[in-house]
Amino acid sequence: MFIFVEMAPGDAVDALMPPESLSTPEAKEAMRERLGLNDPAPLRYVQWLGRAVQGDMGYSLTSRRPVTDIIMARLPKTLLLVGTAMVFSVIVGIVTGIISAIKQYSVIDYLATFFSFFWLSIPGFFLSLLMIYIFAVKLNWFPVFGASSPNAEHPVLDRIHHLILPAAVLGLELAAALTRYTRASLIEVMRADYMRTARAKGLREWIVISSHGLKNALIPVITVIAFRLPYLISGAIVIETVFQWPGLGLLTLNAANQKDYPVILALTMAVTILVVVSSFLADVAYSVIDPRIRLG
C-alpha cells in the first residue's frame, strides 16, 4: 500500500525534468532558483514528501494559492460526481447483470450484452456530447454545463439537476463492465452444488438466488468495482471538461496545460490516495460479505 503512494509522486518528479518553455533564459533561471527547482531531484523529492505528510503541498505556480486549499475546494465536487456515478453504476450494473443471468439467452440478455459492449466502446466525451445535445439542447430537461446556477431557489435540487447527466455518462461504462461480470459470475455460481441443495430443500427460487447465489456471485464483482476505480477517475477528467464541472479533473487539465507542477504533484498524490483508500474499503466489504475472509 505504501508503495502506491510512494511511486506516484516519484513518477511525477521524473516528469519535472524536461525544461520549461516561455520567457528569457535569465528570468527563467531566477524563477527556477526562487522556486527551488534547481536543487537536485532526489533532494526536492524528499523535501516535498516531508512537507506533504504534514499537509503542506506548496503553492500553485500560477494562482499563488496554497495547493491544499485549491484541492480541498474542488475535492467535494469530484467526490460527489464520482460517488453518484458509482452508486448509479453499481445499482444499474448489478441489477441488469442479475436479470441477464437468470434469463440467460433471452431477448433481455442479448440486449443487455449488446448494450454493455456498446457503452464500453463509446468514448465518454462523445456520449457526453450526445447526451447534452439530446437532453439539454433539444429536450431542454437538464442544464448544459456547470455545477450550479447562480440564483437557484433550491441549491440542493439545483445541484442534483446539474449532476444527473454527467454522473449518468460517467457511470454507464462501469455499469456495463459490472453487468458483464455479474452475469458471468452468477451463471457460474448457479451451476454450483449448493444451489441444487438449496433448491432441493424446497426454498423459493428468489430466496435461492438472492441469499445463496448472489452472496457468492458478488464477491468477484466487488473486486471489479475496486479495480475499475482508476478508470472512473480517468473518465471524470474528460467528463468534467465537457460539462465544465469544476472538480479535480478540470483542475488537472488546467494544471497540465499551465505546467503547474506543485498542483500536478499534489493531484497525482490525492488521486492515488483516493484509489488506495477505496481498495481498502473494498477489502473491508469483502470481509463483510464473505465471512471466510478475515481482515489481516
Partner: protein
C-alpha cells in the same frame, strides 16, 4: 514408396499437422456472426482510410469559405466544417491517423508486456516480485492522469502520443503472459526440453512463447480498442494529435463550442460514430477471436 510419403512419415511431428489442419478456426469464427460483421466493417474502414483519395474527390486540408458550415447534402454526405472542408473525407483521413496511432501504441505495449511477462514468469523469485509490484502500481494509478501530465510536459506530437500510450498500457499483457508462462512451465514438454539441454533463449522462443500466443493476440486486439479511445480522448482535450492533421478525437474538439454542438451536429456526430463503431467492432472481433482461438472451449 514416394519421397513425399517418406517425408511425411519421417519429418513433421504428427501433432503439429493435426493442429494446422483441424477444421476449427474459421468455422468457429464465422459462427460468431457479430464478429464477422465487425471484421467486414473494420476492413471497410481500413480501406477507406488508406485509399481516401480514390474514394473521395475532396482534399481533407483544402479550405473553402464558400462551402463553410454546409449541412449534409449529396455532394457532402456529412456536410462541411467551419473551414469548408468535407467532413466525410476528414473522417476517413482521421481514421488513418487514429488507427495507425493505436496500432503503433499496441505494438509497443504488447512487446513490452510480453518481454516483462516472460522474464517474470521464467525467472521467478525476486525478479518476478519486482516486476509484478511495478505492474500493480501502474494498474492502481489512474493512467489517464499520467497520460495528460506526460503529454503536456513532453509535447503533443503523434510520436509522443504513441510512445506514452504504449509505455503506459503494457500491464495487462505482462500479467497474462506471466500467468501463461507459469502454467506452461509445469508441462512435461518443458521438462523434456530442459533435460535435452535446450538453451534458455531457444526454450523461451520455441517452447514457452508459442503457448502464450493466443491470449496475446486477443489482449492486443482489445488493446487497440483501448489505445484508440485514449488517443481520441487526448486529442479531444486538445492534447493529442494537433490540427490541421485530422484525428477522430480532435474533430470532436470543435464540438466543445456550444455553437457547433447545437447548430452543426454533423461536424461531430460523424467522427464520434466512427470512433464508437470502430472500437465496438474491435471489441466484438476480440471476443470472437477469443472464442474461435481458445482450444479449451
Amino acid at each position: 514408396m514416394s519421397s513425399a510419403a517418406l517425408a511425411s512419415i519421417g519429418g513433421q511431428p504428427h501433432a503439429l499437422e493435426e493442429i494446422k489442419t483441424r477444421p476449427g478456426f474459421w468455422k468457429r469464427f464465422v459462427r460468431h456472426r457479430v464478429a464477422v460483421i465487425s471484421l467486414v466493417f473494420l476492413v471497410f474502414m481500413g480501406l477507406a482510410a488508406l485509399l481516401t483519395p480514390l474514394v473521395s474527390p475532396y482534399d481533407p486540408y483544402a479550405m473553402s469559405l464558400v462551402d463553410a458550415n454546409k449541412p449534409p447534402s449529396l455532394e457532402h454526405p456529412l456536410g462541411t466544417d467551419k473551414l469548408g472542408r468535407d467532413t466525410l473525407t476528414r473522417v476517413f483521413v482521421g481514421g488513418r491517423v487514429s488507427i495507425l496511432v493505436a496500432l503503433a501504441a499496441v505494438a509497443i505495449s504488447s512487446s513490452l508486456g510480453t518481454v516483462l511477462g516472460l522474464i517474470a514468469g521464467f525467472r521467478g523469485g525476486w525478479v518476478d516480485s519486482i516486476i509484478m509490484r511495478v505492474t500493480d502500481v501502474f494498474m492502481a494509478i489512474p493512467l489517464f492522469v499520467l497520460l495528460i501530465v506526460l503529454v503536456s510536459m513532453l509535447g503533443s506530437s503523434a510520436r509522443n502520443v504513441v510512445l506514452i500510450i504504449g509505455f503506459l498500457s503494457w500491464m495487462g499483457v505482462a500479467r497474462l503472459v506471466r500467468g501463461q508462462v507459469l502454467s506452461v512451465m509445469n508441462q512435461p514438454f518443458i521438462e523434456a526440453a530442459e533435460s535435452t539441454g535446450v538453451p534458455v533463449g531457444r526454450m523461451l522462443t520455441r517452447h514457452v512463447l508459442p503457448n502464450s500466443f493466443i491470449p496475446i493476440v486477443v489482449a492486443s486486439t482489445l488493446g487497440v480498442a483501448n489505445a484508440m479511445l485514449q488517443e481520441a480522448a487526448l486529442s479531444f482535450l486538445g492534447l493529442g494529435i494537433q490540427p490541421p492533421t485530422p484525428s477522430w478525437g480532435n474533430m470532436l474538439n470543435a464540438a466543445q463550442s456550444l455553437q457547433v454542438l447545437v447548430n452543426e451536429p454533423w461536424v461531430w456526430i460523424g467522427p464520434g460514430l466512427a470512433i464508437a463503431l470502430t472500437v465496438l467492432s474491435i471489441n466484438f472481433l476480440g471476443d470472437g477471436l477469443r472464442d474461435a482461438l481458445d482450444p479449451y472451449v
